[in-house]
Amino acid sequence: MDDDYYSIDSILSENQKIQCTFKVDIPDMGHLDGGHERDIKAQSRVQLPLWLAFILIYSDYADFTIPPPFNSRVRNALNAEAKSVKLSALVGAGGFWYGFGKMIMRLLDDEPANEMSGLLTKSFRNRLVEVIDQAQHFAALGPAGGGGQSGDAALAFREGLEVTERELFLLAQESAKRTKQWYESTDRLRR
């Protein structure tokens, strides 16, 4: 999620692919497509990882289309009920939906970039309370507690968490556990 140079997560999140349409011919680069052409021709479409696509788009050698995890269907679903969307299903297990969106946002012009930022922050905030609630619920159950009464909707929500949300879940769960442990510990046995 962050831009830290050494961040493993940041490096991997830039591997998400994006569809680019080249605006220029680039000789000897056909291999980028994994294809058999020797050269890349203008107007040809290629799926490229973001780390590579970014500089091409930025330098105006290529255009891109908004990737499926951010298409209008997904946007509508998120706007209607953010908690019901399985973000992990959009970017694959271990995928970074927010990190992906952030990079798309950086490639967009002002207006669509603001829109993207709005979509990302709104979805994040609408889901955050549920993430934390569930994490604290799990921490309260203690080591023996399984799914318990948490229900199908809660389970589906947990399965739909993307990597950044999953991290927040763990942070909240650990913190709640630490605090609970302290409250429940007793010093009355102290000598």
């Binding site: 140079y5 050494y6 961040s7 493993i8 997560d9 490096i11 991997l12 591997n15 220029v24 011919d25 680039i26 000789p27 000897d28 680069m29 291999h31 980028l32 994994g34 990882p49 780390w51 590579l52 500089i55 091409l56 330098s59 050698y61 271990g94 102290r190 000598r191």
Partner: protein
């Protein structure tokens, strides 16, 4: 661009970083992937050659600009590979440092672990030795009043601790005189005298 490995620039470096991710998720240090590191470095040399010939081609024909995007791409891949290589190594060093401190800076105990040893590159063993030397050097500056390698995980409550011996650790100097800690015995000792033995797993607090 004959070999298959060069067809998708950056893929191999990504594999390295995926190993780092797996290492974090499983909380283990995987074996140092020497051959993959070497292959990525070979890819870097290959890219350097491609860049040099692209520059040469451009110099031959002032009007020819078709290679500019290609140059940009090669350079991007070089920088990406470099970032992956550095992140892979930095991630391993971070894990090694954590393991070192988890043992309270007991380097011999760490290096005696043959299973761990077999997963390290020779450079990583060198790193641990030099890191340890730096820490010891720094630690010596305070040795009279403070042990900077002492555990800080739990704030102290009492000056003394009741401990059980989990593994024999031989004769140790304490304020009560020398004690021969034998497995199964219990002692009430000054915490500062034996803190390091708890960290290294010889003693356990009761």
């Amino acid at each position: 661009m004959a070999s298959a490995e060069s067809r998708q620039f950056g893929n191999l470096a990504t594999q390295l970083v995926q190993e780092s991710r797996r290492s974090t998720l499983t909380d283990t240090l995987l074996k140092y992937n020497d051959s993959l590191v070497r292959t990525v470095i070979r890819e870097q040399r290959n890219l350097e050659n491609l860049i040099n010939s692209a520059i040469a081609a451009q110099a031959d024909n002032a009007a020819f600009t078709g290679d500019a995007p290609a140059l940009l791409l090669y350079q991007t891949v070089v920088l990406r590979n470099k970032r992956c290589l550095l992140a892979y190594h930095a991630h391993r060093l971070d894990r090694l440092k954590d393991m070192y401190w988890a043992l309270g800076g007991a380097l011999p105990a760490l290096l005696a672990d043959n299973d761990l040893r077999s997963r390290l590159s020779p450079h990583e063993v060198d790193f641990l030795r030099e890191y340890n030397a730096s820490v010891m050097d720094f630690r010596g500056d305070f040795s009279a009043e403070l042990d900077i390698a002492a555990s800080i995980t739990h704030p102290p409550r009492d000056l003394h601790a009741l401990v059980r011996v989990v593994r024999d650790c031989g004769v140790i100097e304490t304020e009560l005189g020398t004690i021969d800690f034998k497995k199964g015995q219990r002692f009430m000792v000054r915490r500062a005298d034996i803190e390091h033995l708890i960290v290294q797993g010889y003693l356990q607090e009761v």
